[in-house]
């Protein structure tokens, strides 16, 4: 004979059937208030345990902090690069770009990014968050010198932090060497010569000051391609100038015939010469044909 089951055990059995998908959710109505309180506590606890994996081991706190810190650093440098690129494209060079400084990182140097704008290359050295830039610069001079030494094509180095202020300064090659100061004649240690600014602005100012804004080559090339030689040369001006030179020379001539004939040239002859020049520039005749044209003009004259 089977012993009758305790009502709470019986209800739990039914509830596990329900959880395992083989029964309906049981009612608690038939339980006494004490039994119901116990059953409700167990069911509530089962619901709260939903989804918790008792065997899953989470990463340690130290590992999480290290990963979170590394991810934050990566995000910040990436964000700084994007901000600089946006500022340069808006104010200095629509084709400016900022990329990871893979070469420097492979060489073990401190540069994190490379900025390309108007043919300039600026390498980016990131210093402590919130650090005083002057102090950070003084401590970073050897690192900056190493970057300039390893990459002679670098025009400047941006020393910047990556906190929300993103303050930075552009360092020229001359800023990292001891210099003799005038008028005192004393040797002075390296020091910053440009203002500390919001880093994207510092880059934009440097690029604008250093490199003229040349028109894009493609624009010039297409502009010239659309023009003929006749458009480039002021044919009427050249012809008028040539005639004038002949008239002046004729005025100085000693032979009366030469003096009269050369001095008589004027507008009609200049117009004929200009027409001949235009035809020559347009490729309508070669040298021989041009000479023939000139001889005809002489005959007319």
């Amino acid at each position: 004979m089977t012993e009758p089951q305790d009502p709470v055990d019986e209800l739990l059995d039914a509830y596990f059937d329900y959880l395992e998908g083989v029964g309906e959710e049981p009612s608690l109505d038939h339980l006494t208030s004490e039994q119901r309180a116990e059953a409700e506590q167990l069911i509530s606890s089962l619901k709260a345990a939903q989804g918790i994996d008792p065997e899953a081991s989470r990463p340690s706190l130290a590992a999480l902090m290290a990963m979170a810190s590394a991810r934050q650093d990566a995000i910040s440098v990436e964000t700084l690069g994007a901000n600089i690129q946006t500022a340069l494209r808006r104010s200095a060079d629509p084709r400016a770009r900022v990329t990871d400084d893979v070469a420097a990182q492979a060489a073990g140097l401190a540069s994190a990014l490379v900025i390309y704008a108007r043919g300039l290359r600026i390498r980016v050295l990131v210093v402590d968050d919130g650090a005083d830039i002057d102090a950070a610069y003084a401590a970073s001079v050897p690192s900056i010198a190493a970057v300039f030494g390893a990459f002679p094509d670098s025009n400047a180095v941006l020393v910047t932090n990556i906190d929300p202020t993103s303050l930075g300064v552009i360092i020229d090659r001359d800023d990292i060497v001891t210099a003799i100061e005038t008028p005192s004649g004393r040797a002075r240690p390296p020091r910053i010569s440009r203002p500390v600014l919001y880093s994207p602005d510092a880059c934009a100012h440097y690029v604008t000051e250093t490199m003229p804004a040349f028109e894009p080559f493609e624009h010039l090339a297409s502009h010239h391609a659309a023009m003929s030689s006749a458009d480039v040369v002021d044919v009427d001006h050249i012809a008028a100038g040539a005639i004038e030179e002949i008239v002046v020379s004729g005025a100085r001539a000693r032979l009366a015939a030469k003096k009269d004939s050369w001095a008589s040239l004027g507008g009609p002859e200049a117009a004929l010469i200009a027409t001949a020049l235009r035809r020559a520039l347009a490729g309508e005749f070669d040298d021989a044909s041009f000479r023939q044209q000139v001889e005809e003009l002489v005959d007319v004259a």
């Binding site: 739990l12 939903q50 989804g51 008792p54 990963m67 650093d73 402590d128 003084a138 001079v141």
Partner: protein, 234 residues
Amino acid sequence: MSTPPTPRPAPRHPLEDDLARLERIVDVMWAAIHQVLDLPTPRRRRIARSDILGEAVSDQLTGGGVSAEDVLTEAFGALLRTPETRVTTTWEGLAVGIARNKTKGALRKAGAWLHETEHRPKLTVISGDAPGRPGPDGDPPEPLLELIEDPAVDLDDEFTKTSQQLELLRLAQEILDDRDRAIFLGMHFGTRTRQSLATQFDLTAPGVTHVYRTTAKRLHDHPRFQRYAEGGAP
């Protein structure tokens, strides 16, 4: 010659001054992430059906393709980046909310390939974007993932409940013998069926239920659990 500066850590977060508290918070975040990711297992699906998602959609959630460790790393970083001025309740409640939101975001991202493209319509296989239970006034159903985090839920209360469960887990591992521990953990966290436990320990299915009940009562009455139940922490 001076040396270049070493990277300085971000400003110290208040929680970093109480690592024991931070450990407890991360434990609950880890559990909260699994609670969202593990909803589709058959047993939990039934609980989800009745309490969270609604009859029509309980089979449609998937946690596939999402790394709980990645989600925890992201959620932990977000917690430490949150300034103290933005905490309206407690760090514990905020941590639960962040963990759930990050898990939802990861599920959505993992399911991005389901969305419509130029070359095909939206796929309708298992998706967290499937509609959930209709609103009480016949309002259109919200997407499934929206129902996982009910804005009305008290996150501090959720934190306490999950902390209690983690304390039950620790107690079970510390004070129960092998049989009782296997039965309690298997039944309570839904990793075993009664029949498999009955076979392993030569019991009937109702016998397994009885062992679970007596063990659960013992753990719930333990002073350490009681401290959590009263809203405190060891």
